[in-house]
């Protein structure tokens, strides 16, 4: 079977240039057939798409064939043909950067050509030797141990708008001992596609688990020469929604596939190197011991380990997947003073363990979204992370960012560990996500305002880690929050009322400087957007200025933010107070209440948004709530 499959792969490789060479591609009007795809027909269909003339680019085909060999090699062939019509399209496709690992893989470029003015450039079969340029990723310029990673540039010759660019290449990864493979194919791309196709070829007998989502088609299945090929093909695929979101598969058709036998097998493969109980080397052990010093408890020890890592080991920001099966020894990462996520995780695990804590490898489902338990795949997990435990301590460590969090809700959702999939209860089921800022102000003797207040941050809002957690600075963070609500304000004193990883309440006293009087002899007091509040938990793709959007908003949970200001005007009088206002819709609720309490005024601003995915059609409702909260009309008080 193995021999048959190799022949199959070889035939496929050989077929590509042969197809190019025999496709009748000669000067004229026929582009011809390439790798079995009729480019003339595809272009004709592209031209028939609505609004073709206004497009930056249209993908005639975006295709990938993944071939798993009996020996564990993984061949990934990518074939793209794209019509580009604008500079934006040119910037996206003319020069392509292909990452691959020269230590474990080979890269073969089989097509790199441009169709324009009735001919191919440079010609139908030639790949200009200077158009394929091997480079080192910038992230590895100071990381000698990772120097096997390459980014090969594929530079198209002859590009003049409009034109057709074709690229085809294959990366063969000699995986050897890898017991499985998995991946995710999202059909929607930056630009609309006439054909978006994913094919998976495995030896007969290899079980493939897969799930099609959001309108993705079922595969066609063909068996030949000892291999079974499943092909998922979708035609006339719209571009992905805008703005682009962090989890593209969340609102586009996709296929998730896996050849792993089980989550346990996948977890075991990912955790190779993590569970090595070999003791630290003497030098590193001494360094750690010196740092731990007289750390009184496990939280202090964890803090010391994190600090040691940050001071001692640079984070190399590179996709670490090529090395997941071959993590470096902890001592090597320490000695080199740099590491990517996996290597920093291995070193961190060894140090945490050396400090007497437990450290377990974890991957987190992207965006905290549900995973399909039937398809054991790492493709939709981010990581690695470490789950740290000790006496009175439970925390997660992110080795790429060097951050340690004790807030359990920050790691809600499915996890993947060495023993397999870990489905845990949703954090918000036990703790509501609440941010509440409350302050009472009165004129101070020295000018301006002074008063006392409280800050409550629960669930996802929990400021535990920033205030008094492992990396925290309570007074500093509190001061920043108060200053974000009232410009220039400072915190004079603070006192914790509740302090748990999932819930923190602090009391504080503060001074707020008085603004200069405006042209109308009024003092303006603007109640701003609190740092760490609801806006900080919105996805980065949420832009209030966008009246409409074509992608979903993925909210992390139901969120409530309350800002309450009680103000005694002293010998001044209110020239303006915001009017009461309430907006309630399917996305949530905004309310503003202004109450007089004797001579004081209480302004209560509350915003709550519901959990889950907000489809594009419901974005205006969510936006309406967010705009109300941001509106100066709902934030401004004037005194005379």
């Amino acid at each position: 079977m193995k021999r048959t499959l190799l022949l199959c792969i070889l035939a496929a490789i050989l077929a590509a240039p042969a197809a190019a060479g025999t496709s009748g591609v000669s000067p004229g009007t026929s582009i011809g057939t390439s790798s079995g795809r009729d480019l003339d027909a595809l272009l004709a269909r592209a031209r028939a798409l609505p609004g073709f003339a206004q497009r930056d680019a249209v993908l005639l085909c975006e295709a990938r064939l993944v071939t798993v060999s009996p020996g564990g090699d993984l061949a990934v062939r990518t074939h793209q043909a794209v019509w580009i019509a604008t500079r934006s399209g040119l910037n996206a496709y003319a020069d392509q950067r292909v990452p691959w690992h020269a230590g474990t893989s080979t890269l073969a470029v089989t097509k790199l050509r441009t169709w324009r003015d009735g001919r191919w450039w440079p010609d139908a079969v030639t790949i200009s030797p200077t158009a394929v340029v091997e480079t080192l990723p910038y992230a590895l310029e100071y990381a000698a141990d990772y120097a096997d990673l390459r980014e090969t540039m594929l530079l198209h010759d002859g590009v003049e708008l409009p034109c057709l660019l074709e690229t085809e290449y294959e990366i063969v990864e000699r995986a050897g001992a890898q017991a499985g493979a998995d991946g995710l194919w999202v059909f929607a791309r930056r630009d609309p596609a006439v054909v978006s196709e994913f094919a998976l070829c495995v030896p007969v007998g290899v079980a493939v688990r897969h799930v099609e989502r959001r309108g993705a088609p079922a595969p066609t299945v063909a068996t030949a020469h000892g291999a079974t090929t499943r092909t998922w093909r979708l035609e006339d695929v719209p571009q992905h929604g805008l703005p682009a979101i962090a989890v593209p598969a969340a609102d586009a058709p996709s296929v998730l596939w896996s050849t792993w036998d089980s989550w346990q097998a996948l977890g075991a493969a990912l955790s190779r190197g993590f569970d090595d109980d070999a003791p630290l080397g003497a030098a590193l052990r001494d360094t750690l011991a010196a740092r731990l010093g007289n750390a009184p408890d496990d939280r202090s020890k964890a803090r010391a380990v994190v600090k040691l890592l940050e001071e001692g080991v640079r984070s190399v920001h590179v996709d670490d997947r090529p090395w997941r099966a071959a993590a470096r020894r902890p001592e090597r990462t320490w000695d080199t003073a740099y590491g990517h996520g996996s290597d920093r995780a291995v070193l961190a695990a060894a140090l945490f363990r050396g400090a007497g804590l437990t450290a377990a490898l974890r991957y987190r489902a992207r965006g905290g979204r549900p995973v399909d338990p039937q398809v054991p795949a790492a493709a939709e997990f981010d990581g690695p992370f470490l789950e740290i435990a000790g006496a009175g301590l439970g925390a997660f460590y992110d080795p790429s960012k060097g951050k340690l969090t004790e807030s359990p809700s920050a790691f809600a959702g499915p996890l993947l560990g060495g023993s397999g999939l870990i489905q845990r209860p949703d954090g918000e089921a036990t703790v509501a996500n609440l941010f509440a800022f409350d302050i009472t102000l009165a004129p101070s003797d020295s000018g301006g305002w002074c008063g006392a207040g409280s800050l409550r941050t629960d669930g996802l809002f929990s400021a535990h880690d920033r205030m008094a957690g492992l990396d925290g600075d309570a007074q500093g963070h509190l001061g920043a929050v108060v200053a974000s609500v009232f410009a220039g304000a400072t915190v004079a004193g603070s006192n914790p009322a509740t302090f748990r990883p999932e819930a923190v309440t602090y009391g504080f006293t503060a001074n707020v400087p008085e603004d200069e009087a405006d042209d109308f002899d009024r003092l303006r007091l603007t109640v701003g957007d609190p740092l760490g509040g609801l806006a900080s938990l919105l996805p980065a793709d949420v832009h209030l200025y966008e009246e409409s959007r074509s992608s979903a908003v993925l909210l992390p949970g139901s969120l409530v933010q309350r800002v309450r200001t009680t103000l005694s005007p002293g010998d001044r009088e209110f020239a303006h107070l915001p009017p009461d206002r309430e907006v309630v819709n399917a996305a949530g609720r905004f309310s503003l209440r202004v109450e007089r309490d004797g001579g004081r005024v209480v302004v209560k601003r509350e915003l709550s948004v519901a959990a889950g995915e907000v489809p594009p059609a419901r974005w205006p409702e969510l936006r309406a709530l967010l705009l109300e909260d941001a509106d100066p009309a709902n934030r401004t008080l004037l005194l005379r």
């Binding site: 480079t135 310029e141 002859g158």
Partner: protein, 681 residues
Amino acid sequence: MPQPPRPAIPSLLLGFLLVLAAAAGAGEPVLPPGDRPPPTAFTRLADAGDAEAHPGAGLVVVFEEMVNRVQPSGVTEVDGYRLTKVLTPAGCRDNSVLTWRYDPQSSRVEVREVAVLRDGERLSVDVAAVHDLPAPQSAIYWSDRIQLLQLPRLRPGDGIEVRTWRKGFTYALLGGDGAAAGGAAADDDARFIPPMPGEYFDIVLFAEDAPIVEKRYVLSLPADKRLHAEVHNGALYSSVAYDAERTEYAWWGRDLPALVHETRQPAASDFAPKVVMATVADWESKSRWFFDVNRDQFDVTPEIRDKVDVILAAAGLTGAAPERRAEALLHWVAQNIRYSGQTMGPGEGFILHSGAMIFEQRSGVCKDIAGMLVTMMRAAGLDAQAAMTMAGSRIEDVPADQFNHCVTALRLPDGSFRMYDPTWVPYDNNIWSYSETEQHYLVGSPQGDTLDRIAYSPPAESPLRAVHRATLQDDGTLTGEFELTGRGVMDGRLRGLANGRRDNLASVFAKALAAVSPRVEGVRVTHRRTDDFGGDMRITVAYRIPRYALPVDGGLEFRSPLMQLTLHDGTLFRAGATAWEDERKTDILLYFTQLLDGQETIRLPRGWRATVAEQPDAVDEIYAAFTGASRHDGNDLVITQRFESRRRQVPPDGYPGFKKAVDAARAWGDRVFRAEKGGVR
């Protein structure tokens, strides 16, 4: 040559000398009070101080010396020595890998010795472990290489001692590690001979991100070579010595601070101490060389000639005046030759790719894009040459290769040149970017030209005319249209705004209008086609903002929407939208001058009147000026703003005045206008 016979040393005398030598070695030589023995790496390291002596630094350069030996051919070898001291844990972390970049086509680098100096010991690092790899590359893909060496785990106080040897040259200013030095040219030395055979140049900065205790640069030239050299941006020590064979120049500096980093700073060569040197006689020689070396690169092929004919015919310019034909060809090249450079092999970096090659590839770097235009202009019968320039930085008056950019020169009938820069004017209706004014250039010509300079461009040549017409309803809703017209530098900047994804255009401008209010809706954008160079760029943005004005006590209060837009958009108003420091130690490089000429007319609800705010004091400083005003015109409130950025580069002593004008503009943007029915009480 026969050597003279040596006199034999009597054995007794020899024995006496040996005893003396042994006695001398038995103890330290006695030094006069106050004198110190010659420094060693270890004493230098000890004297360099610790983290407290160098606040904020993770590393200090203790001693660096480059000895450049130039041979008659110009082939240069450099013996490099660099001793650094790690000061902090962060310094240990961030300096754990050493790197050296080079171009294998023109230079060679050998890492000869690396050691970590620790506790009085020299711990050797195995240089056989150096990785030689393809370098990181972006946009320029010339297959450069990089060498990496991993150091052992460092400790604060460690010294890193490195000895290198280089040979060859680095083209133009694209490399980072300087040129080379000499040694006998072997048979394979041809690739190391510099572009101007027999000549030498260098630009040596005496500053880097770490403080420097001492840095020396030594240049040894054959006696028959003469040298121009100048020190700029500060004082350095220097010496010259000679013998019958060679002349040796040296420059050194001591206790040099780390480079300061400030917002919108020019390149360090504009403000850090440097030596600029060259053996070439004069600019005219360099001009002739540049012409000669590229003499064969502009051959016109039939395909290129056909294309030129098509371009000119399509534009109706066949037989038109030279400038008009040149402009049409410039725009074709700028639009169709993308910036992405493949290598041509030997000669890369200073020889322009042939027109035929670039016409085929439709891509290249600046020199290739400029060369394509030269070729096409010649195909159109125009007298065009390639020229070198220095984008964004000053050129000192020493004929060294102080160039990082390449452009095109068209000789006019009066013998003067008109300059074209196709690399910097894609989607720009100018022939030369207004971001390159006051920039030096050198045209390559057979007779040899001298260094020349693009003229200063006053703000009026780069205006952004911003007109805003809006209607304010009594519920605070603002409906209106911004009309933005740009000329000079602002033409290209406006085109850039409109040149992103076609399906994202409204979002781009909604984002800009978010500075006015995120409630913006109904954004409709119209504009001149970004590749229509028949006139200045014009964009109109229609919008609606519900509840823009704040209802207060029966009236409506608001700030100037146009000022909110311009003060928050660096594309429209670079000086105004940049967060500036309170004080500056280095120049500001804005790249261009600009006039912001804004006028907005806000029609108030019938019967309403607005306050006419107190007029701000006009600011009229050397480097910037601002005036603002408001008035009533019937039912309309008219608000104006006028800002001038008067120089592309502002020196530190001009900064307070510049900042004063910016602050005045911001204060005007913060001014609250109030409208009431019947007029403000």
